[in-house]
């Protein structure tokens, strides 16, 4: 059974009287441990699809199965709990809390888990993750004192703190220079390989998209085509 399964997902926005169909029946399977790119120009519906995959939005119709559960009709707080446990987010603009140290940023999602974790344990896990991403000496720096690449690494550490099943990255390289971008994408590939983490990368940049094994092209609310390449690591 696949980790993620979308069945004929439609999404229509209602702006007053006007109906704005964005997704026109998307069906999609993603297995555990896959590294997938969602490609498409802006307005193609890829962001909407990502929001639905990330449990931030509901499909208007259709089914979304995540780890064998149909989750398209959950309440807001059930969705929140699911996001907390299952999904890590990496954003284009990092979205770190300003005037808050890297450590506090990383451990923030832990404060919303329903498990009982002591503050000490939280700090320990956050420090371990930061060390893993080469930020051991930056734990008490605030975002304004970090470079773009460092900020994005903090953001990735934050997204992984709850050991999620899926990592959703929305244009993660959009605000980074090409060298840092390449490093980041390598890091994603490594995470995908060594921890068998399912990664969904949303981008409009073919160069970035090609780092994934499987590229899904989206156009006008439908899957246009799919390409697969061997699990190699890809050239930069």
């Amino acid at each position: 059974m696949d980790l993620i399964e979308l069945r004929n997902v439609h999404k229509t926005y209602f702006l007053g009287e006007v109906e704005l169909p964005v997704l026109l029946g998307v069906s999609l399977n993603i297995a555990r441990g896959e590294f997938v790119s969602l490609m498409g120009v802006s307005g193609s519906g890829k962001s909407t699809l990502m929001n639905i995959l990330g449990c931030l939005d509901y499909p208007t119709s259709g089914e979304y199965w995540l780890e064998g559960r149909e989750i398209s009709r959950l309440t807001a707080s059930e969705q929140a709990r699911l996001r907390n446990r299952m999904i890590g987010f990496v954003f284009q603009s990092f979205n770190l809390l300003p005037r808050t140290t890297a450590l506090e940023n990383v451990r923030m999602p832990l404060t919303y888990t329903r498990e009982n974790i002591s503050e000490h344990q939280m700090n320990q896990r956050a420090t371990e993750l930061l060390e893993k991403f080469g930020l051991a000496d930056r734990t008490h720096h605030q975002p304004s004192q970090l470079s773009g690449g460092q900020q994005q690494r903090v953001a990735i550490a934050r997204s992984l703190i709850n050991n999620p099943q899926v990592l959703l990255a929305d244009e993660p390289t959009g605000n980074l220079d090409s060298r840092t971008s390449a490093e980041l994408l390598q890091m994603f590939q490594q995470l995908n390989r060594s921890e068998n983490l399912t990664i969904i990368l949303v981008t409009h940049d073919p160069g970035v998209a090609h780092h994934a094994q499987r590229i899904i092209y989206i156009r006008d609310g439908l899957i246009e085509k799919e390409t697969t390449q061997p699990k190699s690591g890809g050239a930069v």
Binding site: N51, G54, L56, D57, A76, S77, A80, R81, R83, N84, R85, F89, F91, N95, L97, P98, R99, T100, E104, M108, P109, T111, Y112, T113, N116, S118, E119, R158, S159, N162
Partner: protein
């Protein structure tokens, strides 16, 4: 654990924007401080008003002897001499609601100094406690007579301002000697001016002397002729042999009771009696208790049966007491309303800032929701922030308010009194204000759509 983390998160968020936190808190600080200051000033004022009322005599209780009734004729209140100075001593000892007691022996006679004479409205024989009961302890000059003078029946007196004007033409009377029914009284002191009482009687037209002196040397009524209106009081004693020089003209208005009538209504034998006893209750609230205690005590001391009517009456100043309590109530209410307004203004300030804060932190809210905060978590966080702001403002406000009221009393010499009620109310109200005015912004934050919040610029 979760509430601890919520608290920590809220504190962190407040620390991140110190200036905003300070300004918001300032609104509540000013609100609470003004509440406290005003309540303290109000409390002080109402205490000052109470003091003034007490000097008018609001807490005073007058105990009058009962009426005598022989041969169908009732001689009115005070005609039966049932009160003794020992009653007065017993009241102050045994009635806890009573602060001070003064027995009074009245006389209405001429006072002579040099070539001038004057009949004061009040010539009272009493004890030094009289000044305490009437809140008159501050003398203009000189000093009051003492309990020692009372025991010795010393021929000393203190006089009111009107007597100073009439007899001494404004000169200091201290050390001078006045004559009352040919008894020489040395003037020891002059009372402060008090003006007319509520009935228009001049309260300064008064001469106070030890009651023993007035009783035995001036009035000199004998034991058997207690009923002064019914009997001729011109009997003399050895003490005052000169009283015949100014013979009194007293008409016998009432028939002299026959021997059998007198035997039917025997007067209780009391060796010394006083005309009335003046008492002061500890506070206006203690008046009913004081009346009850005095009644029980005096009935017991006078050996009255349960069925027998009391041989004395107690009067209180109901009118003045009512005026006092309504004035105090009015002041307290007025200040409370003003205080409420300033707290509501402070609360609206908090709501304002919290709304701004929610807008400003839309992305943060979106992020927190994306990583798994449910609407309840967001609501709790913002509500906690608002409550922390209010409690912080409240506690600083209490300190500021107390300091202000201290300064007011130190610099402006206005009376203030710390009121614990105001402090408790300020804390409770500021927390409530936090919840009420923090709720709407927090609720608004919790209802944000995470996708839109994340995209918010």
């Amino acid at each position: 654990m979760r509430s601890y983390i919520t608290l920590k998160t809220a504190l962190g968020a407040l620390r991140r924007n110190v200036m905003r936190t300070v300004l918001t808190t300032l609104g509540i600080i000013i609100g609470v401080a003004s509440v406290i200051t005003m309540m303290d000033i109000g409390h002080g004022s109402s205490i000052a008003i109470q003091k003034t009322m007490i000097s008018i005599g609001a807490n005073t209780l007058v105990i009058l002897p009962g009426a005598i009734s022989t041969a169908g004729i009732n001689y009115g209140a005070g005609s039966m001499m049932t009160l003794s100075p020992q009653d007065a001593d017993a009241i102050v000892k045994e009635a806890p609601a009573v602060e001070a007691v003064a027995p009074i022996v009245r006389a209405r006679t001429q006072v002579v100094y040099g070539n001038r004479n004057w009949v004061p409205t009040y010539v009272y024989g009493t004890t030094p406690a009289f000044l305490q009961v009437r809140d008159w302890t501050d003398l203009n000059e000189g000093e009051a007579f003492t309990d020692h003078d009372v025991r010795n029946a010393s021929k000393v007196c203190i006089v009111g301002q009107t007597i100073v004007d009439q007899l001494f033409t404004g000169q200091s009377p201290v050390g001078k000697v006045v004559r009352i029914r040919n008894v020489d009284f040395k003037v020891l002191g002059v009372l402060k001016k008090k003006g007319a009482n509520l009935m228009g009687l001049d309260q300064d037209d008064i001469l106070l002397a030890p009651w023993t002196t007035i009783k035995y040397r001036v009035v000199a009524s004998s034991l058997t002729s207690a009923n002064q209106s019914a009997t001729n009081t011109s009997s003399t004693t050895a003490v005052n042999s000169l009283s015949q020089i100014y013979p009194e003209i007293q008409q016998n208005l009432y028939p002299v009771p026959t021997a059998s009538e007198t035997a039917d209504a025997p007067l209780p034998i009391r060796f010394t009696t006083v005309d009335q006893i003046l008492t002061a209750a500890r506070s206006s609230d203690d008046i009913p208790a004081a009346i009850q205690q005095i009644t029980m005590l005096l009935r017991d001391r006078h050996h009255l049966r349960d069925t027998a009517p009391s041989d004395f009456t107690i009067r209180d100043m109901t009118e003045i007491t009512k005026a006092m309590s309504s004035t105090t109530e009015l002041i307290t209410k007025l200040l409370l309303y003003v205080a409420m307004i300033s707290l509501v203004v402070g609360g609206i300030g908090i709501m304002n800032i919290m709304l701004v804060s929610v807008t400003e932190r839309t992305r943060e809210i979106g992020l927190r929701m994306a990583v798994g905060a449910d609407p309840g978590d967001i609501l709790r966080q913002f509500l906690t922030e608002a409550i922390i702001l209010c409690l912080l403002g409240g506690s600083i406000g209490i300190l500021t308010g107390r300091t202000c009221s201290y300064l007011v009393s130190a610099v402006l010499h206005w009376p203030t009194a710390a009121s614990l009620g105001a402090i408790v109310a300020a804390v409770v109200v500021s927390a409530t204000v936090g919840v009420i005015f923090g709720f709407y912004p927090a609720w608004k934050a919790s209802r944000l759509n995470p996708i839109e919040a994340l995209r918010y610029e």
